[in-house]
Symmetry: C2
DNA sequence: TTCTTATGACGCAAATATACGTCAAATATT
DNA sequence: AATATTTGACGTATATTTGCGTCATAAGAA
């Protein structure tokens, strides 16, 4: 492509697409599940749970943080990661809302 | 990367990630909105509505079809695209379900 | 038939994502 | 102090996505 064109779309669509993109990799989904399952916030060796190296997992964590779904607290040498519950809830509403707004109930294709 | 590793994850996660990925671009979100808004199924010149060329839009439509969210019926020279309502509804449940399954209501981070 | 239109397949180039090795800094352990 | 852990930043290689031009095909119009 000559240039990226994502910025030519409506801001709202861009943001929604970015949210979906944050969830568009199985590693990131599994990280979210793992953080949710282990109630207490967990250190970085989430990589033991995934078929990926540590730095790769770190990279995915970084993206989840950028999307606002996860926060990281430094605790001595280690770092504890947590779900950002408020944003995860907001996420759920936004994603459901997008589909609801399509009003597929009335949709009739012929 | 030496090789793609997505296939090393659980099948369920891979499929959910693929669904999210289908929604991870503003053009595809807008295409879905457009198809939903124009009740009658629409020919390919959806590209008039987007800041993208025809072949690019075609490419995005192809991805939406691969994800099962859209179907295309040939009608003479033109092609009519439709939302696949059943799959869109299923999508809504699966995506909401993923977040529900995190049980964030009980989540307590300290 | 000839011309026009609409489409999708194909391939290219640029941008971005994915995966990881290495390294320096910070904290703990000895 | 010397050593060991844990982490994130950085760079690199490969893979995938994105955007588009070109072309051949198929159907309708002239």
């Amino acid at each position: 492509m000559v240039q990226s064109k994502t910025e030519l779309f409506e801001q709202e669509l861009i943001e929604k697409a970015a949210l979906f993109k944050a969830l568009a990799h199985p590693a990131r989904l599994q990280i979210l599940q793992f953080l949710a399952a282990t109630q207490s916030c967990i250190t970085g060796d989430i990589s033991d749970e995934l078929p990926l190296g540590r730095t790769t997992v770190n990279q995915h964590l970084k993206e989840l943080k950028a999307a606002g779904l996860v926060t990281g607290h430094i605790e001595g040498v280690k770092t504890k990661y947590c779900l950002d519950m408020d944003n995860v809830k907001r996420l759920r509403e936004e994603l459901g809302g997008f589909i609801d707004d399509l009003h597929i109930d009335n949709y009739c294709c012929e």
